[in-house]
């Protein structure tokens, strides 16, 4: 009996793949099952060292140019057939944008239940997952009694844990026949060096308090100093000050960084829906009564135009 982990790649193995493997390893140990993995893509050899120490016995690798980019038609049948061939009892994937699509499609093809966006998953004589519901306002503990039991994990909520340096066996699989109905015309990836919001360990966000789009550099400089991704409130997105891909909140992105710094953001409930699972929340706002101060760990009541540059300087000093 085995636990199968779906290793997400986008050119390179994603951190969320190693997080999923960490969770899957714990499940495999608690359940007394084997841990196996599937990699679909193009260049596993470049990244296979990263898979050391995660308890994976075998990686089933499907490598081909046609599989470089995710596609439902290419990826879904491979995973479905592998699950059926190996009789996996538990499947752990990632709740990234593409991971969710893969998991939902595979679950449908297998005819099994699926819990997406879990923030924790455990084995307790069966698979248990914790997941946010009602846009994150409530957390649900759910037990999945289907077989295979399938869960996808939100990126950035589980710390990667390695134990030793045992490298898994890689079993190269022949390329199955794929006919792609959907054509990928263009793949626009993040610019090199740019940190993606949902994967960032630190997020620095600006709100209406920045006063206008010309003032983003004040917040961006703090983000640069902290090595953070830039977030934004909906008010700034609606005002056309920044692209909505930066929006954090109920109708934007959900982030779970180690540190979330809110600059000139009031902390509306819909904004909280996107950042309340951050480990540490820092608020900088000139209004001492802003709701953000009720949900922050550290707050500074003050003018962001004074605080942000000082903070950036102090961070640079501390980090050398």
């Amino acid at each position: 009996m085995s636990v199968l982990v779906l290793l997400e790649q986008r050119g390179n193995l994603k951190a969320c793949a190693l997080e999923a493997a960490t969770a899957a390893n714990k499940i495999a140990q608690a359940a007394g099952m084997d841990l196996i993995a599937v990699y679909i893509g193009q260049s596993l050899a470049d990244d296979s060292a990263q898979l050391a120490g995660l308890g994976i016995n075998t990686v089933y690798a499907y490598e081909n140019d046609a599989l470089k980019y995710y596609s439902n038609d290419g990826y879904v049948p491979i995973v479905r057939d592998l699950v059926q061939e190996l009789g996996a009892k538990v499947i752990i994937g990632s709740s990234s944008a593409l991971g969710k699509e893969l998991c939902a499609s595979v679950a449908a093809r297998l005819g099994v239940e699926l819990v997406q966006d879990a923030i924790d998953v455990q084995w307790d004589s069966g698979l248990l997952a914790k997941k946010p519901v009602y846009a994150g306002k409530v957390l649900a503990d759910v037990r999945i009694t289907d077989s295979p039991a399938m869960v996808s994990l939100r990126p950035n909520v589980i710390a990667i844990e390695k134990n030793g340096d045992t490298v898994p066996t890689v079993e190269q699989r022949p390329m199955p026949e794929v006919s792609l109905r959907t054509v990928l015309k263009e793949a626009a990836e993040a610019a090199a060096g740019q940190i993606e919001l949902t994967e960032a360990k630190i997020v620095v966000s600006g709100g209406r308090g920045i006063g206008g789009p010309e003032n983003w550099p004040v917040v961006q400089d703090l983000a640069d100093a902290m090595g953070a991704a830039l977030g934004a409130s909906r008010a700034t997105v609606d005002a056309g000050w920044i692209h909505h891909s930066h929006q954090v909140g109920q109708t934007g992105k959900v982030v779970s960084p180690d540190v979330y710094v809110a600059c000139g953001i009031s902390g509306a409930i819909q904004h909280q829906a996107g950042m309340r699972t951050a480990k540490i929340i820092v608020a900088i706002n000139k209004d001492a009564n802003a709701p953000i101060f009720k949900i922050c760990d550290y707050g500074i009541v003050g003018d962001l135009f004074e605080i942000c540059p000082l903070l950036a300087k102090e961070v640079r000093k501390a980090l050398g």
Partner: protein, 258 residues
């Protein structure tokens, strides 16, 4: 061409949620219900295609109890031509069963394009649209922030972390919509009046010829809780230099996150 839009009735997430006595559900009697926000974008996208002369008919499809009709009326007031309610009382099936039932009902609708929200903000299940596509064996794309139809080919932008894919899909296809693709319209009073006369067909979930096994649930909610709010709420004191130094020190030495 016919477009089907999947619309779910969900609690307004600005509501205050309370955990019920069973510790495994929320108190529902104080909740206000609305159309799931992403479904509004899907509705608007469908109506815009019809207004552009690229579709003749927009049908709104929901699965749930009688109360869903209220939400469907909103969709009809936005501009849908008719409705189909897959009726099921009580809690209803899990996402797997919802998708099976909706897919079965959609087979008789004959829509070339099925639009849904990227997720419904009650269970945040994020899977019904993808499942329906697989069950109907249609090409599909999720989290779509731009959509263009030329002939029988749909071009979409699909958001991913830090980027996007531009995809071409042949119809029939299933697409789940991200916010930002458009600005959903508010129904006008005359349209709200008109919507009252539009037809909502009902189809019993048990009359779809589905195997009882696919409607059964293998997911049990064992507990629900409000997220713990153990925030320090430490509002720092002192002059700017002192507070900034205290903050950096705390992030580095106490929290070890910097």
């Amino acid at each position: 061409m016919k477009i089907a839009v999947l619309v779910k009735r969900v609690p307004d997430t600005t509501s205050v949620f309370k955990i019920a006595d069973d510790n495994a559900s929320v108190v529902t009697d104080n909740l206000k219900y609305v159309m799931s926000p992403y479904d509004e974008y899907a509705m608007e996208a469908a109506i815009q295609l019809r207004e552009a002369g690229q579709a003749e008919e927009v049908i709104v499809v929901s699965l749930g109890d009688e109360s869903c009709k209220e939400t469907m009326r909103t969709a009809l007031a936005m501009g849908a031509d008719s409705g189909l309610l897959v009726k099921c009382d009580g809690a209803g099936p899990t996402s797997r069963g919802v998708a099976e039932a909706l897919a079965a009902a959609l087979k008789n609708v004959g829509a070339s394009l099925i639009l849904a929200g990227k997720q419904a903000v009650d269970d945040d299940a994020s899977q019904v649209a993808e499942r329906i596509a697989e069950l109907l064996d249609c090409p599909h794309a999720s989290v779509v922030s731009r959509m263009e139809l030329v002939g029988d080919t749909l071009t979409v932008d699909r958001e991913i972390e830090g980027g996007k894919y531009t995809l071409e899909l042949p119809l029939p296809a299933v697409v789940s919509i991200e916010k930002g693709i458009n600005t959903p319209r508010y129904p006008t009073l005359p349209n709200i009046m008109k919507a009252k006369r539009k037809a909502i067909e009902e189809q019993d979930i048990n009359a779809l010829g589905l195997d009882a096994a696919v409607l059964a649930s293998h997911i049990t909610v064992e507990a629900m809780a409000l997220p713990r709010q153990e925030r320090l709420t430490n509002v720092l004191e002192g002059d700017n230099e002192t507070r900034v130094a205290t903050l950096v020190k705390a992030l580095r030495e106490e929290e070890k996150v910097l």
